[in-house]
Symmetry: C2
């Protein structure tokens, strides 16, 4: 169905704008995403609730409403400079992972850009799921969604404590300490959880102490890699 929106006071538009805030995302269990490529992935995954667009899009099923509006109104709900004329509201879908043999655990990841990039990378390396610790930033933050490039619509996202998931799985922690083994020398376990940590403080000390394997990437000249880069390199070794 196609409808027009001509006013900034339109209720649908105001509802969508409210999803820029974490508390409303949690209240409604919805979030915003942008752009044609992400829309295609979200449609395929069945996450799309409604679409705001500067011109009607052909391939959208009839039962999803397209609100057609002027670009200056669309800007009220877009977060990027160039939203490609498409912003859409998504339902949060709790996808059940088919298995949990290759998982990443994000321990207090702060930056939504890093979060989204790790989600994109995890999907590309065929990880089964991502587990987000309490105290991490919101997975559905608009910057995380943008950086995930649609991967958020395929990868199962779990929340919770590492201990809920560790039974039967080797815990591999990324940490720059003396005992850490070079990732090149780590033999991939059959079933594992890769733990990466906070941008400033790294992985929690108690998690490091209880790890099955502590690993690191050999670097020079500088203290650390960006956490999304480190995660990408570790995942490349642990495919």
């Amino acid at each position: 169905m196609i409808k027009e929106i001509n006013s900034k006071d339109n209720n649908k538009l105001k509802h969508a704008a409210s999803l820029k805030e974490s508390k409303y995302r949690k209240e409604y269990n919805e979030f915003l995403s942008e752009g044609k490529k992400s829309l295609d992935m979200a449609l395929k995954a069945g996450n799309v609730k409604e679409i705001f667009t500067v011109k009607p899009i052909k391939e959208v099923p009839q039962d999803i409403t397209q609100y057609v509006l002027k670009e200056d109104l669309l800007k009220k709900i877009s977060s990027t400079k160039n939203p490609e004329g498409i912003v859409f509201v998504c339902n949060v879908v709790n996808r059940k992972p088919k298995k949990l043999n290759k998982v990443v655990y994000l321990d207090h990841i702060n930056d939504p850009g890093n979060m989204g990039t790790i989600i994109r990378t995890a999907l590309a390396f065929d990880y089964d799921a991502i587990i987000v610790s309490e105290g991490s930033c919101d997975v559905y933050n608009e910057k995380a969604i943008a950086a995930s490039k649609g991967a958020i619509f395929s990868l199962p996202i779990l929340h919770g404590d590492l201990d809920e998931y560790r039974e039967g799985r080797q815990v591999i922690v990324s940490a720059l300490n003396e005992k850490a083994v070079d990732i090149k020398d780590v033999k991939k376990p059959q079933s594992f959880i890769l733990v990466v940590g906070n941008e400033a403080n790294g992985v929690d000390e108690a998690i490091i102490a209880s790890a099955d394997i502590v690993t690191k990437i050999e670097i020079k000249n500088i203290d650390s890699l960006n956490v999304a880069i480190a995660t990408g390199i570790l995942m490349d070794h642990l495919r």
Copy 2:
């Protein structure tokens, strides 16, 4: 020397604020950076022109002026939410690389966050320099500087065309085409330039056509990796 600034109309403060714009960075050959860790690296490298800080810093040489000011004034020149109370003006230093055996060429990289992260990663993997193509974003953009985490003060940054540098070096291009060889099967040449490309369009077709080696990272489920992640993984293989 320590001086106080009490007004937003102070000339030194206004000059620093002007460096948020690319045209003034180019005009003065200066840029802004923030935080204690970056300051330490910049001092060591000899890039620091003057410092704006909420309280005097002990380890700063006498000949570098510290302007002490209130936090609300500091916010006029900071770009992060938490500038740690320190923003400083740096001189652009054209560092000559000692050698050019391991180099990254950035072909039309658009996003300053990606640019800065690649600079940080290149330093961590001991690359000799980075070459920035025309049409890439400004290396001295505040987001690029922040993402580089001080690496900008150590890694030689060159500008120009790939052809100026290719003599005697193998050109290795990252591209998702059919002929591309899995990076795992690429033997590291003694002297090479790794070329990575634009976020939306990849590496220029003419560069791909003239490459010595075209390589890719095997991925599933999604079109591509983020360019900084891909570069990190390629660099890890090509240390």
